[in-house]
């Protein structure tokens, strides 16, 4: 409430919709387009987000586990990862078009580029930080195959780190939505509408969709934390509280 009040007071002081649309102007814009947001924009953006995140998980989890478990794999793959990691998702747009056309997959690819590295790095770190004594204890108890050690020891140990990586990845993926929806892959979507209203200089709608992006990102994060941290990783509670 305080933030909304500060926003409205600041906008009233600025008195320029181009510089800072007020909360009331943004609320009015919402009242005009909320059905379109719910029926068209949100499903489109969620589709792009899910394609990107699914791709990120499918690539980053196995790769991070392999790099974290096998030193040789880490030595070979790490330089390649570090070359690609700093490249911003935006730079991949021309290739997204060439490889995937103007499709939802192309948008998902841009989000994938943003999501894959946090998951990969955190998975790698989780595996790499596994204390030697856990592995030796498991071997004593009969888990001698790498597959068993990964399944029963390393992966559960690394879960909090992996969950942290996925949480960061979701935030970055959601941010990449704006870039992912700007090159003609769809005529709806939260990111698409930001560009669309920007071209029409309707800054109240631009800010509305920015706020919607933020609120939905918060909802996704809270949902993830509830499911993963409070349910799947419930055992962690006893460690710190």
């Amino acid at each position: 409430m305080g933030l909304i009040l500060a926003w409205q007071i600041a906008a009233a002081a600025v008195n320029d919709k181009l510089l800072l649309p007020s909360f009331l102007q943004v609320a009015a814009a919402f009242s005009r387009v909320w059905p379109t947001i719910l029926i068209e924009d949100l499903p489109t953006s969620l589709l792009h987000f899910l394609i990107g995140m699914a791709g990120g998980l499918l690539v980053a989890l196995p790769l991070g586990m392999i790099m974290g478990w096998f030193r040789a794999a880490d030595r070979i793959l790490d330089p390649i990862v570090e070359i690609f990691r700093p490249i911003p998702p935006l730079a991949w747009i021309p290739f997204a078009i060439v490889w995937f056309g103007l499709t939802d997959t192309a948008a998902g690819f841009i989000i994938f580029v943003g999501a894959v590295f946090p998951i990969l790095i955190n998975t790698y770190v989780g595996f790499r930080n596994l204390p030697r004594v856990y592995v030796e204890s498991a071997k004593v108890l009969g888990a001698t195959r790498d597959l068993d050690l990964v399944r029963y020891v390393a992966f559960p140990y690394a879960m909090p780190s992996i969950a942290g990586g996925i949480r960061i990845a979701m935030g970055i993926a959601w941010m990449c939505l704006v870039a992912a929806e700007q090159f003609g892959v769809s005529s709806s979507g939260l990111g698409y509408k930001i560009w669309s209203y920007y071209y029409l200089h309707q800054m109240d709608y631009v800010l509305l969709y920015i706020v919607m992006l933020g609120l939905l990102g918060l909802l996704i994060d809270k949902t993830f934390r509830y499911v993963v941290e409070e349910k799947l990783l419930k055992w962690q509670v006893g460690l710190t509280q």
């Binding site: 305080g2 009040l5 500060a6 007071i9 600041a10 906008a11 002081a13 600025v14 320029d16 919709k17 181009l18 510089l19 800072l20 747009i93 021309p94 078009i97 060439v98 995937f100 056309g101 103007l102 700007q182 090159f183 003609g184 892959v185 005529s187 560009w195 669309s196 920007y198 071209y199 029409l200 200089h201 309707q202 800054m203």
Partner: protein, 337 residues
Amino acid sequence: MRKFIFIALLAAVVVVTMGCISSPEKSGNATSSEKTTVNITTLHVGYQPSTHQIAEMVASEKGWWAEDLKPFGVATVDEKVFQSGPPEMQAMLAGALDIAYVGTAPPITAIAQGLDAKIVAAVNINGSDLVLRPNVTYSGPKSLEGLSIGTFPPGSIQDIVMKKWLEDNGVDISKVQIHGMGPGDAVTAIEAGKIDGVFLPHPSPAQISLDGKGRSVVQSGEMWPNHACCSLLISGKLLRDQPALVEQIIKTHIKATEYVNAHPDEAAQIYAQKTGQNLAMVKESIKSWDGKWISDPTIQIPSTVEYAKIDQKLGYINKTLSKDDLFDTGFYVKAVA
């Protein structure tokens, strides 16, 4: 209670900070009536790397902007290049540009949102092509149903001209997949074979044709004869405070336009050097396009006003814009007198 005091203090800090920030245009307007007008010493010019706007580049490279505007106190001409009209208009809305070479469509939406500026001269008419991939058959507008076409975003000249032409020819627009995007993305998409065609301003059609990735099937002058394309837009502040400077800007623009029409090869050379684009491609573009470099704004009035009506019908703007809202032809009349 403490939380409330903290939030109230934060709000007060924000208000005091924001109160110190105001639109440059607004603060200029607030003081100009009270003080003597201060002539600008730096002219901020916006333009796009398109063969449509060669006149701006010729005027720049020949030194005419600097030479002709110096007597009016302009010591520096600061050029900013934009890939498309909307960010150029956003910059003008923010007070960062004094004059803009820009398509006539972006100023319509910007002026509807409060941009204080007027179109004072024309830059070109026509000049866009519908390009289809070599293996895509074309047998008239109806044959476009079922195809995917990339063009500039909704509200742009290309979007309006193409959709009007399709409707006038009985084409069901819902059966044509129209993708709104920038020129770079559209050229990439057609050259990668990911869309069937594009409708873009030159020189992109020439580039695609020379790359062997498409051929022009319809030119925009055939879709809408003599439709307005690029124009010269000047800020309201400059129009009011420095009318003599505005008149000279138009004279320089006319001089550059006449020079381009008389020396197209040299103009192509200047354009290629300034933009880094391939000279052979630029020459081919100028040879093959149906565009015309002009300066008389009255030629553009009918189609521009029609664009504004279409924008309003589509909900892109929420008011009716008349010729006088968009144009000020008085300066051009004085410049050619």
